[in-house]
């Protein structure tokens, strides 16, 4: 899709009139195109207005269902406001890392399930009937897989033989929301074989990602380039 073509997708995107692949591609474009972000935002408001012409009073029982439903769910924490990052983590290091990692998909054996009687959060996700798996082979830097269960609403990343992050840096996890926003989802522990439940709502996330970020700072926006992307539309 040429550049001028992709700009014209704003309308279809705002109306959800795109398939998953187009959505993912357009959301990548949105990250770098302020014009399209602004146009999509105004067109989304417009489509919301269209709903005015479809007003139908719902049955009163729906209100009860909604309100009893929310009483059992805790709202997600806010994204903590960023202090301005003084200096960027040198892009060269990240780029070198990406070169080493050489992202490519590969399949390998799933991990053996735990023998524990009660399921951990990670096991609940991995063993869910709707678990979706995306694996990324990082070459010599190790392997990583993200498993997401929409019904559990969570995603889990498992690493094998993962190379350590550069000194003073750490691997940070992200979930890409349906709106194309990258939301911080926690950090990877500094160990080669780890299983971590991503923070945040993974039910509607379109992808997960790993970036390298300065250690100990709040993570608000991913530092590019991204080390690994787990695109849920490519999940098996």
């Amino acid at each position: 899709m040429s550049d001028s073509d992709i700009h014209k997708l704003t309308g279809a995107y705002a109306l959800d009139a795109v398939d998953d692949i187009e959505r993912a591609a357009f959301e990548r474009h949105l990250v770098e195109c302020e014009d399209c972000r602004s146009e999509v935002s105004s067109l989304r408001e417009t489509t919301a207005m269209l709903a005015e012409s479809a007003i139908v009073m719902p049955p009163p029982s729906l209100r009860d269902s909604v309100l009893s439903g929310i009483s059992q769910v805790r709202p997600l924490p806010p994204i903590v406001a960023p202090p301005r990052r003084a200096a960027w983590f040198p892009v060269l290091v990240a780029a070198a890392l990406v070169a080493v990692l050489g992202v490519g998909a590969a399949l390998w054996q799933p991990w053996a399930p735990s023998d524990e009687g009660s399921l951990t959060a990670a096991e609940q996700v991995i063993q869910a009937s709707d678990a979706q798996r995306v694996e990324v082979d990082l070459g010599e830097a190790g392997r990583a897989a993200v498993v997401r269960s929409k019904s559990v609403g969570k995603a889990v990343i498992t690493t094998e033989d993962m190379a350590p992050a550069p000194a003073g840096q750490e691997f940070v996890l992200w979930l890409e929301s349906a709106e194309g926003q990258m939301l911080p989802a926690g950090e990877m522990p500094d160990e080669p074989n780890a299983t971590v439940v991503l923070e945040g709502d993974a039910a509607t996330a379109t992808a997960a990602g790993i970036t390298v970020e300065p250690e100990g700072e709040p993570h608000v926006e991913p530092t590019l380039p991204i080390v690994a992307v787990f695109d849920f539309s490519q999940a098996t």
């Binding site: 309308g11 705002a14 408001e45 207005m49 997600l76």
Partner: protein
């Protein structure tokens, strides 16, 4: 328009709809504030938000998924999502109603598409959406005015733009499917949808 809104006690003020470019600033600010209170776990605020938006949400879901039971499921899921992710709502980036209805629409579209993947779309015959009951709620008063503005704006579209926008928005079809249904090139459908929406936006005076 003041005579239209003797607002009962305890009902959120919906502001004064005027024909102007920002029809309901008061209502929009109110909804944004309810959303922010919801993110702090305020269930009463969320109930109020539900009351102020549920007819739009349900009507939209019903138009897309067509089956009332499924529309209820979609709406319930959407509100649950909105509650859970309410802290991610940013009033600087758009209205609360827009944010919420975006979730509703996306879930509706996902529902019809996944249902199609499993079986053919059920409910072979679909009643056209029933006319709005203009009951006494503030939303209905407010909405009927807004609905009038929407109708006026829609009537300003060309026939082909309207067809494309309606198939995409209420039909839940992708722009590629719309192109096939209308027997036009994909680029043409994409352009009609975008041009149509831009014209609607400008006619309704929606800010970005």
């Amino acid at each position: 328009m003041d005579h239209l809104k003797p607002v009962p006690d305890g009902v959120p003020s919906e502001g004064t709809p005027s024909g102007g470019s920002q029809p309901a600033d008061g209502a929009a600010a109110r909804l944004a504030s309810l959303m922010q209170r919801s993110s702090r776990g305020d269930e009463a605020a969320f109930a109020e938000l539900y009351d102020a938006t549920s007819a739009r949400a349900y009507g939209l879901a019903l138009r897309v998924v067509r089956n009332p039971a499924q529309a209820e499921e979609v709406v319930q899921e959407a509100y649950l999502d909105a509650w859970r992710t309410s802290s991610r709502f940013d009033p600087a980036r758009g209205s609360a109603a827009g944010w919420l209805l975006t979730i509703v629409h996306r879930k509706s579209v996902d529902r019809v598409r996944s249902a199609e993947a499993a079986t053919a779309r059920d409910a072979a015959y679909h009643r056209e959406t029933e006319p709005v009951e203009h009951d006494s709620t503030v939303e209905a008063v407010h909405a009927s005015l807004d609905a009038q503005r929407v109708r006026t704006a829609v009537s300003g579209l060309t026939a082909v733009q309207r067809e494309a926008v309606e198939l995409a928005f209420f039909g839940g079809y992708t722009h590629t499917e719309v192109a096939t249904m209308l027997d036009v090139p994909v680029g043409t459908a994409k352009t009609r949808i975008r041009d149509g929406l831009i014209r609607l936006r400008d006619a309704m005076g929606v800010g970005s």
